[in-house]
Subunit: 285 residues, 2 copies
């Protein structure tokens, strides 16, 4: 997905939120905003928003000297999600269609996203998501692909959400490789976050190599790229992965809660929709 | 009220909305955003937000060559409000306290504000506002001041809202002077908008001289300033007037629907609150 003009005010909003979470003083927060303004004339609108956001978060890391400003927030949401885990398992085990319920659980976890800038309530979102209507639901295709798949690449998104992903992975028969970001960016999961979420018990955890809040293939490592090409099934979680992978030519199943109005419009659904969508853009490079 | 850091992303959001309403092509819209970025390093945070917004809207007028981009929107909402006028009168006439009902009507009209960037529903807001609890209600003080006042300066805000103001002015005994902006800015009312709203039948309409979406005294004309000093009662409508007049030393009654979270926090109320508030900052210049 390309960067839309509406993303520009949002870069400033995200930058301010992150600068505050990083503990910068008001004058330093202002400097971060001025730094974002400085890169604005050079923003290539054909790049995806996470390619721009990458520079915003780097500016904050540099100004604050804090390598991982969202560390405490990530820990908090992993703990919250782990405390919910028994309930999530019960919901799935008691449902008529455990796979579909686990998909709903995984999408509900996608609400734990500090890149959007609005407040959220994890437990309320879980309740809603278990009964919400899907705006896109390529479920039959997904089931078929899942049954056949020996190797599944699952590209994670946020820390804490990872516990919800684990519930879905537990419904899978194939070998699952769970990919996370290489460097801290917003509250996106790193290897340690995936491990603390118990993903290590159900999947092999790798870094994609990405330092952006998404999966920019040109910034990914060789191990990830090989898996991305060769896995029988690729699942990508959340908005950042959609923004960076929606135009890639291989088949991908996206699991998203469309919290951002621009992304919702790009997908073609209403804001706050839940989506399980197969994409394969044959025409794109 | 000073400019808060949260106002900065909002300047970009407002600029983009206005550029689109002015009919600029995407590339021109982007240039407006880059222009706003260019003034960012020089923004004096102690200035009020309308002092900054002024430059944003000037940039759009310059780029588009359109003197009054919101003209059609203003006309539309004046027509809508005029069609509601008989109903507004009926609400006030049938109420137990016509003055208080007319105040509620005038505040409801303040929803017609294109400087906030969120969608609104005039009729729904009217219904809600007629029964909403005031977050601040200096009603006894206001009534007392109103009874005594021979000359009342009523500083208007948006076009269309002006019809709702007329309903309140019709409850007043003193001589009312209704002040509007000098130059087009967002959907703020100009002299012709006040006239089309029927304000001329109940008040004398003047320009404040302001070219900002608020009342910056240093940019106002002599006639307005004399009235501002000498009127027995000054009423200021809406957020822009609050932002620019909240720290002025003379007594002012503010009628506001606090749609912006930053302004709501500055007032000390919750977002979407309705407010009739007397302010007189003795310590300020």
């Amino acid at each position: 997905m390309r960067t839309y003009l509406e993303c520009i005010p949002c870069f400033f909003k995200q930058g301010l939120l992150a600068a505050r979470i990083a503990g910068l003083a008001p004058d330093e927060q202002r400097k971060v905003l001025i730094e974002i303004a400085g890169i604005l004339p050079d923003i290539p609108m054909e790049a995806s928003p996470p390619e721009i956001a990458l520079h915003v978060y780097k500016a904050i890391r540099k100004s604050s000297g804090v390598q991982d400003p969202f560390k405490r927030i990530k820990d908090k949401y992993i703990s919250l999600a782990l405390s919910l885990y028994p309930e999530l398992k019960k919901i799935v085990d008691n449902s008529e269609d455990p796979l579909l319920s686990a998909i709903r659980v995984a999408i509900a976890g996608n609400i734990i996203d500090f890149g959007v800038g609005s407040e959220f309530d994890v437990e309320e979102t879980l309740k809603e998501t278990m009964v919400a209507q899907f705006a896109v639901l390529d479920y039959e295709l997904f089931k078929e692909a899942l049954v056949k798949a020996k190797t599944i690449l699952y590209i994670g998104d946020n820390a804490g959400e990872t516990v919800f992903d684990r519930v879905l992975i537990e419904q899978m028969e194939g070998d699952v490789i769970f990919a996370v970001r290489e460097e801290p960016v917003i509250n996106d999961a790193l290897i340690e976050d995936a491990e603390r979420s118990g993903i290590g018990e159900v999947a092999r955890i790798i870094s994609s190599g990405s330092d952006a809040p998404g999966t920019i293939l040109t910034r990914c490592n060789r191990e990830f790229l090989t898996l991305f090409q060769n896995a029988d099934l690729v699942i990508a979680k959340g908005q950042g992965n959609y923004e960076t992978l929606s135009e890639v030519s291989r088949e991908i199943y996206f699991l998203i809660k469309a919290k951002c109005p621009v992304i919702a419009r790009d997908i073609g659904v209403k804001e706050q929709s839940i989506v399980l969508m197969r994409l394969k853009r044959e025409d794109n490079p």
